[in-house]
Amino acid sequence: MNAMLPTRRQVLAGGGLLIGLMLPGRGAMGKVAATAPFRPNAFVRVGTDNLVTVIAKHIEFGQGPATGVATVIADELDADWGQIRVEFAPANDPLYKNNMFGTMGTGGSSAMKESWMQMRNAGASARAMLVEAAARRWGVPAGAISVSKGVVSAGARQATFGELAADAATLPMPEKPVLKTPDKFTLIGKPGHKIDSRMKTDGSAIFTMDVQRPGMVHSAIRRPPAFGGTPGKVVDAGARAIPGVIDVQPIATGVVVYAKDTWSAQRGVAALEVDWDLSKAETRSSEQMFASYAETARTPGRQAELSGDPAAALSGATRKIDATYYFPFLAHAPMETMDCVIEKNADGGVDAYMGAQFQVGDMRAICAVAGVPFEKSNLKQQYAGGSFGRRATPTMADSVEAASAAKAFGFKAPIKHVASREADITGGHYRPLTVHRVQAGLDAAGDIAAWDQVIVAQSFVAGTPMEQMGLRNGIDAALVEGAAHGDYGFAHHRVGQHIVPNGVPTLWWRSVGHTHTAFVKETLVDELLTMGGKDLVEGRLALLKEERAKGVLRRVAAMSSFGAAPAKGRAKGIAVHKSFDSYVAQVAEISVGADGLPKVHKVWCAVDCGLAINPDVVRAQMEGGIGFGLGHALYAEISLGEGGKVQQSNFDTYRSLRIGEMPEVDVAIIDSAEPPTGVGEPGVPPIAPAVANAWRKLTGKTVRRLPFAHGDNA
């Protein structure tokens, strides 16, 4: 999601973070932790019950920001972790915008990076006010007061936060609260339990799909057989004959069936007969797209990076590789399919229960469809069962669809609109199908003399409200990130980019452009170093521009004993990649599995994400990122067949990694005092090339098309 991020300079210029913390008035926040008297800023509530409620502005779909922001606030506040609760913020940009996006949103592995100082200030200012309240009550200087684990004390005198909350609420906010020095951190940097583990273990966590409203009606949708199709004549007698089906209505993106329960709605959808207008649909197959993109990749495209004179260097090269790489569409397939509950509220607006990744954008889209004022409407943010980018659409497509379904029912009842797994897998918003071509060459000394790369894909921000954030000078960062101005300093380097039209809706997909640029960079560098007789670690170290990248590479090489001979029938592959300002290197040890595909036994992973706010969350994200990246690299592909029809529909055909395919994972976190950067995505990019590099060593086969399971690699 780097594509939508402003530059570092713009972020810094946005400073004055505390200004954003000021509350306009109590009424605006009345719905959140309503009983707490002490509300020093938008993120902290302290009740007389001694509970501290942290308001999380980010969606929690597994990457841990709810725990992260709570950890930072609790530490600066010197609260006890047991008294911390988390609530999700309402849709309110002035209070809760992502400081890197300018609107509420979670993505680009930005949550902790963008809010780190803001949360520290929020916690520290609340602490200062509690201390001041105690100082006044006890008639002692604030300097004589200490706070530890939620207890404020001066000598023998003690008070809880709850006991001081009412007094603290009457005090002015400190202009510039004093932040802790890192040696005083009690929670930050230490392993700690996540705030939501228990409720996600015993089934009590509520996701959107679990929301129940009085009189609620369930809806499901039938979408066209090709992207861009629209419903024409609908024969709904069969659907209406199904017990429990209440109504059938066409909307722009398909035909909606309303029923008393989800099952009846899904059966109704299956019974629909629809004449689709496919005159404007995307009807090409994936193979046709690949062929067309590969042809386009033979021309230079718009220049994203140029250093030196790659053409001249290439013509003087002694050995050359001219390689074309093919990356399929990929579905995110979060465990919880896309869903939303919408109902009219008593204020003349709507309430939307959902896991909104663009909280304000989604709510504005819903209000626009419903024709109600945003100010009268409420986002009831829920835990989300995964996203990997799926819940962030620049067009707010899913919110628009759910609101359209509710509107077509006349808002006569709360509507729970749930995509079936089939609707999810066939519904688009995929990682874009992408082709790379690289011409590279070695000089007489075996060093990489030239690297000329062309990337071809569609842009999913072009033509959307987010175009200005994603596209600069005709270059879409989501296509070239990790390739242009990447990790290695090649003397003669060019990266070109073609944005081509495609009717398949596509999206950010966990680690975005890095999913393919890291694969090309790390597999081809491995090939070239091997061809040039270079050491795979030393050769990379000589090319890497940044010390932190070198640091993770050295660490992973050491912890995996990369240079040592592997066991018989096994090989190790290595890869390093920076994404979202975090640095990750991985080594994969593999053998040939019974199915003829790589069997990955173990992965070593070194990560430098600055200060690790919760090291165990960092470790979990590396484990999960490796599993997510590996499963898709080995098995997953969304392919369009004849007429543009998606050929996969559920987990039986869109194969997901399963437990027996998950390698052992050993994670090392580099000690760092640098500001925290993200971990949700950076664990993904290195795993596919690390496995491919091991595979080439073991079998001699070079993988230029993913997934591994695709026929071309057999």
Binding site: D202, E623, G624, F651, R658, I659
Partner: protein, 166 residues
């Protein structure tokens, strides 16, 4: 339940034991148990992930054994005992849940009810499973967050604590 009702002549009430209490469902007996639990009874800990027994998010125990509720017509559980994540209890269940929380297995959490139920079902019949036995027993439970490393560890931790007492 506002739209529920007896819609067809062949509808007969299905009576079964749910988390220890006798329960009656008077809709279509072909309705998958998953949707009876979620949409009609309001027990939402059991999740929908695929609807075709591919992901295991809907795992419940039917007479103590793992069962995918998304492909189980409610009619066939008539007279049997269904246990969901909300009602599962006993030493093994408590050991599994404690192990899950102790090493913070869940990420998004959506699949974890099913993972926990499958793990309890496994340890109930095989108190000290090998790695291969864990892989085989848990193969039907997808976690898109890929929390598999911790799932496997938590099952081993729970096996050590529960010690085979059911």
């Amino acid at each position: 339940m506002g739209w529920a009702g007896r819609n067809r002549e062949r509808d007969v009430a299905t009576e079964f034991v749910l988390n220890g209490k006798t329960t009656t469902f008077d809709g279509d007996p072909d309705t998958p148990l998953l949707w009876v639990l979620r949409d009609h009874i309001g027990l939402t800990g059991t999740k929908y992930g695929c609807g075709v027994a591919q992901c295991g998010a809907c795992t419940v125990h039917l007479d103590g054994k793992n069962r995918r509720s998304c492909v189980t017509p409610v009619g066939i559980v008539s007279g049997q005992s269904v246990t969901t994540i909300e009602g599962v209890a006993g030493n093994t269940a408590e050991a599994v849940k404690a192990a899950w929380v102790n090493i913070d297995v869940p990420q998004c959490g959506f699949c974890q009810s099913g993972q926990v139920m499958s793990a309890i079902g496994l340890l109930t019949i095989e108190p000290h499973p090998s790695d291969d036995a864990i892989d085989a027993a848990m193969a039907g439970n997808i976690c898109r967050c890929a929390t598999y490393v911790r799932i496997k560890q938590a099952i081993k931790d729970a096996a050590g604590v529960a010690g085979g007492r059911a």
